[in-house]
Amino acid sequence: MTITVLLNGAKRTDEVQADTTLFDYLRSHGCLSVKCGCETSNCGLCTVHLDGKPVLSCSVPALRADGHTITTLEGLQEEAAEFGAFLADEGAEQCGYCSPGFIMSVLAMAGELKNPTVEDIQAYLAGNLCRCSGYQGQLRAIQKYLQAKGGAKR
């Protein structure tokens, strides 16, 4: 089956199988930032944007993306570096394996929530697991980033 997608700003048409996941499609087309931490949509590592909204690419059939816009961290390098600098300044990226999916969720949240509270942030990102950081440094980074962007409650 053929799908046509706008992947990180470039229109492309590809053959996929009915059971190809969006995750496998993206990894096999060079989007290596997208990571797999489970196969049961519980870890958040494979988060990408489908029409600007965060989805778990391991549980979206590639066919569902036909005619839609997909964005991975490869397509948001400037934004990733901007928020990532705050994360790096906390040392909270640690092993970094969950960072791409986590950052995709943070960027979606920053666009979606106005002046989020700590509880809003924790709830929005609850699906993004991290085993290294204990989440505290991630929270500090998010708060500083949102503050720098001009809109976060402390």
Binding site: K35, L73, A88, G91, Y97, C98, Q122, L129, R131, Y135
Partner: protein
């Protein structure tokens, strides 16, 4: 300007946060064979027959290997210095299957789908045997987990496979029975911990290929590249000289990757087929056949006087090695050495232990490495003693804790050279406002709050065994390259070791290029485990930099035409105070490459006869919902003495992360089997690790001591920080509910049923 004790960014941070392809799975050659393992559905069985002929006819399938195709030398997958204390009890594939998920066949195909198709048509006839699952009944059980004749123990750790005994050990200090007899109060308690999975975000994964010299190249997510080289040599029966191991960035380890879990399968496929090969464990396999923390049962006898003086602690630990003895004989020692030594007041301490085989998944190394279990038991017993004596749990510790300047008889007789545990207690009490509130109180909504405390220690490397080497070179133009053999697994050791080098050589972080592990090029290092990198590898870095500094001075002096003892080096230039002349670092760098034949480089190794313990106090405030039994950690405070804090940010995040893993151990995480020995919780749906909702608020501060034997006064941080939550939270729940829960994890069901039974009485 000094960079040690600042929070500089990790050198690899920006590549990680922008999602660059720097992990094993991102670099697999396009033509690599995919590998899948057919795994045993039975916890104990023999393969009666196995037929792979149909599987081999599946298009795309290149090879299917069974036990008949494998080398017959037994080996251990534990990443330890040779001769390993862990018994040689494994084959790559064995006819005798000892736990559910043991590999039965290795399938190599062009795609994963080809492998799955082949897996479906492999015909195996099993002789299914009754499994031995209860580790408390394993010793001298009629079921033998390792009946084979070629079983081998390299070290004298008391191994007796004919009794299911992996190892036995112990020590006695003082007159235990006499001191217990003299004690006003003696408590005898049993505590139980379960196996826990490290649950690092990147599963086990490895790819292999033959290079232009025909040597086996192994690119793997490992904490122990040099041990991987030796273990593959053992398992594949090829010389070490024919193997090269490269470690890219690692997506977390926590000890899981101190065992050779995924490496062997692609390696044997590449050896037998000549093709590149790639294996990544699924999350399910990472859970079912990983290298989890050992399940333990610990019996504690503790004796104290009415005034709170603890006289004696007697500890017995039984450890479940599972089907294979990886890290079994070594984790168990820490249960005693790194718990009893917390109490400097003890007139007697005794430790005894047995490690036994069962038909559950083989255990491994998990952050804390036995100390976590031992500290949970001993700290819980001390908390129970405080309650029994009507004493504040902080006060009983202040009266008995180990202090700087004491000898630690239970800790290999080592001196306590650096210790601010007493100040950590003060700091933690202050941060928590311990004295401003009672230990428990009820909120208007009916929830109960409780508070608890625990202390912890760990080591800094393995004394006289761990060895680290570092090489530092001055390059043309005067910048440096730091070559390391230790594995940065996300903790940031590449960065903190560069911080040390920068201070030793009075230069900036950008003047130092760091290169991590390639066994062909990096100097030898036992690996990143036992909290060793800062202390042991740091020691090697400091030595190597000192030697290079001398060489720079000598080279500069020669260029200036004076003797070496007439010059000094300020990081930018070698100068002669007597005549005011100077030559820059860049000039020395160029000169050393241009016709002078004196390329400046220094390589030093370091090993330490002692393993100075870092210390910590942890305090938990929990909220208990009496209707549901749900326990939430609302506040956790950690005060840490890791010696000099080399990187303030990374040490903080290590501590926060360790505490949250400890919260998981206390309240959520439990490896569970069904009655046939099949793992029940093999996904993040069933094996719950803390999300950011469960982590609560964690506050960390440091009270640095100065360790005289450590680089810049540093000790270690990585493992210590997982040790306080289990006993501190257990105590907080006891304070809140009046019930002491002596088995982990403390589940809502346990708490709710205890409260329901109270109201029934």
């Amino acid at each position: 300007m000094s960079v040690v004790s600042t929070g500089v960014r990790k050198k690899d941070a920006m590549s990680l946060v922008t999602g660059k392809p720097v992990y094993t799975g991102d670099m697999v050659p396009a033509n690599a064979l995919r590998i899948k393992l057919l795994r045993s559905p039975h916890a104990r069985a023999n393969i009666k027959s196995i037929d792979v002929s149909r599987a081999l006819r599946v298009p795309g399938v290149v090879a299917v290997f069974t036990y008949e195709d494998m080398p017959q030398s037994r080996f251990t997958t534990a990443g330890q210095t040779w001769p390993e204390p862990s018994p040689y009890d494994r084959l790559i594939l064995d006819r005798h299957l000892r736990c559910a998920g043991d590999p039965v066949a290795i399938i190599a195909g062009e795609t994963e789908e080809d492998c799955f198709q082949a897996m479906k048509v492999i015909k195996v006839e099993y002789e299914v045997l009754e499994p031995l699952l209860d580790f408390t009944k394993a010793l001298d059980n009629k079921i033998l987990v390792h009946p084979e004749d070629n079983f081998k123990a390299l070290c004298d750790v008391g191994t007796d496979a004919k009794r299911n005994l992996v190892s036995t050990d112990g020590f006695v200090v003082g007159d235990m029975e006499g001191e217990l007899a003299k004690s006003d109060v003696v408590l005898e308690r049993t505590y139980n911990t379960v196996a826990n999975s490290q649950a690092m975000m990147e599963p086990f994964c490895t790819y292999t290929y033959l290079d232009e010299y025909g040597r086996l190249n192994v690119v793997s997510s490992t904490q122990v590249p040099f041990h991987v080289r030796r273990i593959l040599s053992n398992a594949l029966e090829i010389p070490k000289s024919q193997i090269r191991v490269v470690k890219p960035r690692i997506g977390g380890g926590f000890g899981a990757k101190q065992s050779v879990v995924s490496e062997i399968f692609p390696a044997i496929v590449t050896k037998l087929t000549g093709r590149p090969a790639f294996l990544t464990y699924t999350r399910q396999e990472t859970f079912t056949n990983g290298s989890p923390r050992h399940q333990m049962q610990m019996k504690v006898r503790i004796g104290a006087d009415r005034d709170g003086s603890i006289r004696a602690i007697d500890l017995y630990a039984l450890s479940n090695a599972g089907a294979y003895g990886d890290h079994g004989p070594t984790t168990i020692g820490l249960v005693g050495h790194k718990s009893l030594a917390l109490y400097g007041s003890l007139k007697a301490s005794r430790f005894a232990c047995d490690v036994v085989y069962t038909n559950t998944m083989g255990g491994g190394a998990y952050r804390g490495y036995g100390a976590t279990q031992g500290i949970y038991a001993v700290e819980s017993a001390v908390n129970e003693m405080a309650a029994e004596l009507g004493m504040d749990p902080c006060a009983i510790r202040e009266k008995n804790m180990v202090r700087q300047g004491q000898l630690m008889p239970a800790y290999y007789g080592e001196p306590c050279n650096s210790c601010t545990l007493d100040q950590c207690m003060e700091k933690a009490k202050d941060m928590m406002g311990w004295e401003k509130k009672p230990q428990s109180w009820t909120l208007p909504n009916g929830h109960i709050r409780g508070r608890g405390v625990a202390m912890a220690m760990q080591g800094s490397g393995i004394s006289s065994i761990d060895i680290a080497s570092a090489e530092i070179r001055m390059n043309d133009g005067g910048f440096y390259t730091l070559l390391l053999g230790c594995s940065d697994m996300g903790t940031g050791c590449d960065t903190i070791l560069a911080q040390m080098a920068a201070d030793c050589l009075d230069c900036g972080m950008d003047d130092i290029a760091v290169r991590g592990v390639d066994t062909d090029q990096s100097p030898y290092d036992t690996g990143s485990y036992a909290s060793s990198t800062t202390y042991v590898t740091g020691g090697a870095v400091v030595k190597a930099c000192a030697e290079l500094r001398e060489k720079i001075c000598a080279a500069g002096a020669k260029l200036l035409g004076v003797e070496a003892d007439q010059v000094d080096f300020d990081g930018q230039k070698v100068f002669c105070p007597a005549n005011g002349r100077a030559v820059t670092r860049a000039e020395i760098g160029w000169a050393s490459f241009e016709g002078h034949n004196q390329y400046l480089s220094a390589c030093q190794s370091h090993s330490s006869p002692i393993s100075p313990p870092p210390f910590m106090v942890g305090m938990a405030e929990v909220d208990v919902d009496p209707d549901t039994g749900v326990v939430s950690v609302v506040d956790y405070v950690g005060a840490v003495d890791c010696g000099t804090v080399v990187n303030t940010n990374l040490a903080r995040v290590q501590t926060e992360g360790g505490i949250v893993q400890g919260i998981g151990m206390a309240l959520l995480e439990r490896v569970q089997y069904d009655e046939r020995g099949k793992l029940l919780n093999d996904s993040f749906l069933q094996y719950k690790i803390p999300t950011r909702a469960e982590a609560g608020t964690i506050r960390v501060d440091f009270v640095p001591s100065f360790e005289p034997t450590g680089p810049f006064g540093a000790k270690s941080i990585g493992e210590l920080v997982i040790n306080t939550p289990a006993p501190a939270i257990t105590e907080a729940v006891r304070a809140a509910t009046g019930h002491m829960f002596r088995s982990l994890p403390i589940t809502p069901e346990d708490v709710a049923m205890a409260i329901v039974n109270d109201t029934r009485d």
